[in-house]
Symmetry: C2
Subunit: 117 residues, 2 copies
Amino acid sequence: MILIGIAKGGHMTPQVQDSFKALADPTRREILKLLSQDDMTIAEVSTHFDMTRAAVKKHLTILETGDLIRVEARGRERINHLNPDGFAPVFDWLSHFDQFWDDRLSALKDAIEKDLQ
Amino acid sequence: MILIGIAKGGHMTPQVQDSFKALADPTRREILKLLSQDDMTIAEVSTHFDMTRAAVKKHLTILETGDLIRVEARGRERINHLNPDGFAPVFDWLSHFDQFWDDRLSALKDAIEKDLQ
DNA sequence: TAAATATGAAACCTTATGGTATTATGTCAA
DNA sequence: TTGACATAATACCATAAGGTTTCATATTTA
């Protein structure tokens, strides 16, 4: 996996903790899936959940803190869109265990090949 | 990224929520890093943190629920070891956004190439 | 077998979290 | 410019989460 850090102006460097915290809630993970399909206003995101707009807004704020989404003001609306780059710290942290996992996959592959002989 | 699910006896199928929840705490992420180096008893893990063994034990239980570690009884000790396969649900969920991220990288690559012309 | 060791488990405390309701503010449109 | 609309902000509530203390249980080992 290739990781490239790109400095962008106007945003705090997200702590890994903020990213993992943002991902820890099922509603927020669902919001990320939604935003991967379409940019949405807060009201639009809210229609997909059985909770108040205020609650959805809180989730969006936490996602923004984790830098997983970016929010753009457009008139009286706030357009929320996914920030794919924001996942980098998460992938980065997990890569340590990805390697571990790849080793296990290799072992599995070897075992299968041996089994086929 | 290739993902393979392997059924194993004697363990609950971990919900993605349990995995992400387990990863959401910095102490637990630190424990995972420790266990990627060495298998450890609860007491051994505890020496690395400024909290009681009981607290560490709770974290280990949450990690076990998320299937990120496995615990093996040996006499009066409990050997905690990393379960690399347990990360699969996390990688699986994130792969959706990995793709998104790769697309962005491609776009960046294209932009750079175009710029060099 | 008795003492020390390693863990399990329960009760309890404080703070964080996810949710609501209410009120305020800025923007659009007739 | 007034009413409707989209969001912001605050206070508040119930439960979950992270931690401690205390006590019980199972193994070693002297």
